[in-house]
Symmetry: C2
């Protein structure tokens, strides 16, 4: 329970923008990029909300936290809003990222083009398996976890990604935090305990499948009762 | 735009349980399993909400959609609620899943223990690269995409996972839908267009990093202004 509570307090500490709003900002940003690429200079809140898959009232509320209110009858200036949302997301700079656990998922993430183009630069790959240390992955060579502190300090990294087995995740998390990492993206199926001031985002890939099975289950039930889907 | 709208209409078609509630059910289920493993037979809405990292009013509302209201002064029966939430998520059965695109991420997902233990069984791995077709991955041998229809039909699979490059994703999605897949989990950085009745969940791994960079950005701003984090 303490682990879950720590994760939560890590998220709720900052007061000004609700976490659910923060989680939608990357979605708005992507929709805005699509609009900009398509030549739109302004967009109504309804159109932007539809493109992002949320209700327009929620979109307006979310953007109001950033101080973006749009203009009645005109909507939002696309280029201006891209800058606003990008600035809020801290995307004006490059974020050095370290990754621990270079199995299949670690390999996949190290080579994930989406990170680099969104401003995240993998500056260190770490493992403890002698068979993996020294392996070249993209532009990096896998290092032993004992080198973590040096790399975090010299690259001034503050974001760490954990792609280890569950059993190693808490220990790795502790080492990341001790090295100075203050934001952790956790792919291991384990709840992590972190001190105040450290943010953890947990990615559980099977959650997404469970959401789909919810819908499949409903579809099957509807098919049996003859209610159209 | 049309792709985004299709994805959205796919999500909003079913009316009874809000999508945001569905997305929280797997989180509640995991918290309940932790409570049950720890020997708890009942749990208050406040404690369950804290374990899941949501507000208790939201938790009660979410569970009310499933017809679970708890008992005043007692809370929820843990074992009963596990059954309720599992049933809503369609977890009473095993879901056959096919996966297309056996690169690093496909390998990682094919070997992801979390799927199997949550009731998702990978029944087919597909690629078009001759270097990958025939490769053994866990208990599966990678097949050519041309065999997709046969496998989907014989295994009665309704869930498909796309881990191809973005450029191939729409074509693969069309083939999955043509084969009879009605729920798609998309890891490719592409918005997919699907007919009504097909659900798409898009996983964008860099979204999570953007949420962390938001917080890092705030921490840095607070450090500069001397406001405690």
């Amino acid at each position: 329970m303490r682990a879950a509570l720590s994760e939560r307090s890590g998220r709720r500490r900052r007061s000004d923008v609700p976490e659910a709003t923060v989680a939608r900002l990357p979605v708005y940003l992507r929709a805005l990029h699509v609009l900009a690429d398509g030549g739109s200079s302004t967009v109504s809140s309804e159109a932007l909300a539809a493109a992002a898959g949320v209700g327009s009232a929620k979109l307006r509320k979310d953007l109001s936290y950033l101080g973006s209110y749009g203009t009645r009858g005109v909507g939002y200036d696309v280029a201006e809003l891209v800058l606003h949302v990008s600035a809020a997301l801290g995307l004006g700079r490059r974020w050095p990222v370290v990754l621990v656990g270079v199995g299949n998922l670690g390999h996949a993430l190290a080579g994930y083009g989406g990170f680099d183009e969104r401003g995240f630069c993998v500056v260190g790959l770490f493992d403890v398996d002698p068979a993996r240390v020294g392996e070249r992955v993209g532009e990096q060579v896998v290092r032993h976890l004992d080198e973590l502190d040096d790399v975090v300090h010299s690259a001034r990294a503050s974001i760490g990604v954990i792609t280890t087995p569950a059993s190693a995740a808490q220990d790795v998390c502790d080492r990341l935090v001790a090295a100075g990492i203050t934001s952790v993206l956790n792919f291991a199926p384990a709840l992590l305990q972190v001190p105040a001031g450290v943010d953890v985002r947990k990615v559980d890939l099977s959650n997404e499948l469970q959401i789909l099975s919810f819908h499949e289950h409903r579809k099957a039930a509807r098919a049996l009762t003859g209610v159209p889907a």
